[in-house]
Assembly symmetry: C2
Homo-oligomer: 158 residues x 2
């Protein structure tokens, strides 16, 4: 297990916001109260509030306070990648503790404090990290709202 439920829950919130954004019949902004999402998906409201705070600080969602308030996506669902969402929730994406991304974008291995002792596994973790990031960047919120209908193609066990 690698990502925590922070990513799990957070992504589900984003998907739910995107779904309801398409629902609004008039020109309404369609802000969604968090309690509604929490109940719909069976996630603890108080915990979601923490995650949503991170998403807001990352500029991925906007909020409206007060009665009739709630949250909405800050940008169209097609323009929000999972890389942004996951990074906002989990922090910098690193497949293993010793690997991180420096401010200049280069991959840094904390085992290599001694410069003439390169870490043999750095190549592996760099590759893994790259493939994860690329996959997350290639998937947007919009990709996840179009889940196929549960009716067809799912065989019901006897």
């Amino acid at each position: 297990m690698m990502f925590s439920t922070k990513a799990e829950y957070g992504v589900r919130v984003m998907v739910e916001l995107a779904r309801r954004a398409g629902e609004s019949p008039g020109g309404a902004e369609s802000v969604v109260p968090l309690a509604e999402i929490a109940e719909h998906d069976g996630m603890p409201l108080a915990y979601l509030e923490h995650l949503v705070a991170r998403l807001r600080k990352a500029g991925l969602i906007d909020s409206r306070r007060g009665s009739r308030g709630g949250y909405m996506l800050a940008r169209p669902a097609e323009e929000i990648t999972m890389a942004e969402v996951v990074e906002a929730l989990e922090g910098s994406i690193a497949p293993i503790e010793c690997i991180s991304q420096g401010p200049d974008g280069s991959i840094v291995c904390s085992r290599e404090s001694d410069p003439n002792h390169t870490c043999p596994t750095k190549l592996l973790w760099t590759r893994v990290r790259f493939s994860i990031v690329r996959t997350l960047e290639d998937t947007t919120v919009a990709d996840l709202i179009a889940v196929p209908a549960p009716t067809a193609s799912i065989p019901v066990p006897a």
Copy 2:
């Protein structure tokens, strides 16, 4: 952080075994005592013993007991993939707790106990898992023993 030091240490052990296998001048089998690797890489010996036990049970290394005993790779370094190593150490590869691989190879989401409620994030985690596994399968122990000079940047496969 996603993989633990189990993967980190275990991979380093495999690489070290591969390196010393190429050293033997005669036709010697070149078994390596674990204490030697532990000291060379600065890893705790008692902890390594646990990890090595997993690698042995997975058939990735062989052992010889008694004085002058030690460990050696069970197969050529080119034929041992990181997917095997990491899976032996960490268990089944899953990017998140709710996702796992069923016995038939299909990806299972534990949130989908209710068959008419498909999990919207399953697509994402499936994609991420697939990209991780593919990267691990494409990298062998042999790829890591040839560490480039500290100067060069690290290439990433397309």
